[in-house]
Amino acid sequence: MKVTIDGQSIEVEPGTTILQAARMIGGESVPPAMCYYSKLKGSGGKCRCCLVEVSKGSEADPRPMPKLMASCVTGCMDGMEVNSKNSDRVREARQSVTEFLLINHPLDCPICDQAGECDLQDLSFEHGKSKTRFIEEKRTFEPEDIGPNIQLHMNRCILCQRCVQVADQLTDKRVHGVLDRGDHANISTCISKAIDNEFSGNMIDVCPVGALTDKTFRFKSRVWFNKPFNAHRECTTPGCCGKTTVWMFGNEIQRVTGRKDQYHEVEDFICNTCRFDKKEVTDWVIEGPRKFDKDSVINQNNYTRKMEIVHIATEEGILKGREQDRKKISMTAIPLSKEEQEEFNNGNL
């Protein structure tokens, strides 16, 4: 079947959705998706971010579809013509959807641990306005503790239900679902039961916003100060691939996540042991730096190249200074590690 998206044609299998076809083409015409997750069955169709205009239904029935279609749940037809980024109607619709999603969002990005890798941030950067028209009070929920590893911020949730699908499809005992209806709808663990399944940590990775975040990483650092590296370990948990991204700050592993692709979807799900318990460098085999988009905030310092030590031809004492001057003057409350201290004493820091 031949589909044309924004003037670019591609041959696809029957049963492919418009969003999947657009992702095969790639580039700017890929609609943004907040709730669709290719690794989870039955996801999509909830957030309406991926609306596209179908200007020609199919070869057999060339009439355009009267309303904008959610591309993640609309199947391709032979000869279909779709406008995504090219259409003003789509752009306006996406702007409105973004505004609706942000109505109850607290906009506390400076505090949120997801900031820098948040899909909602990307969406509002692309389609949002810098002003709000909403003057009413935002919907708020009482903070709820859902266990020692995962932090739930219900105020930030956009009800994409990806986490519910993770609970449904990856864990054997679902302890996590959507409660109440309409404006009061919220994600809960059903009577605040702690989520203790081995794969429950994956809801952190699938959450497009900062509603579910890693409690072991809470307020430790901002994501752009950490350096992501590909790493793997022999994981004994059945079903866990052991392939992860470790986020390092110096020689310290601050966070472990799954490996996310360009659409922020994990390549493979990982278990809670890998994610929360293995924070030592010796636990992991580090493969090398992870590549990121050139304009990603995470890539703000190019750390993929090896730093070379500059040798300056001068007397040794001048560069290293006197021994009594070799002391840590910044962040004195946080002492250096033993190895760092040794390097420091030798004047190499």
Partner: protein, 181 residues
């Protein structure tokens, strides 16, 4: 006209190697000419000022030392989001975030606050990008004319929260002023 004879600036002169006459060799005229220039400067407007007694007005965009602001209720605005450190071209700012405890709600405005906040004044170039990046109106470059004091020790130039956060009395005074208006 050839290029040799054109003078774009109007100040082009022909250089000549002609011998000075006896009168010119006495330099009397030249000395008098020079003295006239000196005398003229004696009566013209002075370009210097008597510094400690007289002070020039500063530019309206003058940027002095930093201050971490408090809000009307005296709580610290900074949430340690790290955007100032990210935007700093001199890498002068470092910080460490911490979570606010329930009994500290009167001290910090948001859930997260900067436990340690340091500006290395040896590195700072007073460009004001931190102020521009701050989403919480926390860091400001004040119009304070106090310069960073000189010292022999490098650690004296690392300004921590003790020297950066707005004094509580100032916050109270600001609130009173605001309420009065």
């Amino acid at each position: 006209m050839s290029i040799e004879t054109i003078s774009l600036s109007g100040r082009k002169m022909q250089v000549s190697n002609k011998e000075m006459t006896f009168f010119e060799r006495l330099y009397l005229v030249a000395i008098v000419k020079g003295l006239i220039i000196t005398l003229k400067h004696l009566f013209s407007r002075k370009v210097t000022i008597q510094y400690p007694e007289q002070v020039r007005t500063r530019s309206t965009v003058y940027r002095g030392q930093h201050m971490l602001k408090r809000d009307e209720q005296g709580r610290e605005n900074c949430t340690a989001c790290g955007l100032c450190a990210l935007s700093c071209p001199a890498e002068a700012i470092t910080m460490k975030a911490a979570e606010r405890k329930p009994n500290e709600k009167h001290l910090y405005r948001e859930e997260k606050y900067a436990e340690i906040y340091e500006i290395n004044m040896l590195r700072c170039i007073f460009c004001g990008l931190c102020e521009e990046a701050c989403p919480k109106d926390a860091i400001y470059l004040t119009t304070s004319k106090v310069l960073v004091p000189s010292s022999y020790e490098r650690e004296d130039f690392i300004f921590g929260k003790d020297r950066l956060v707005m004094p509580l009395e100032m916050a109270i005074k600001n609130t009173q002023l605001k309420n009065a208006n």
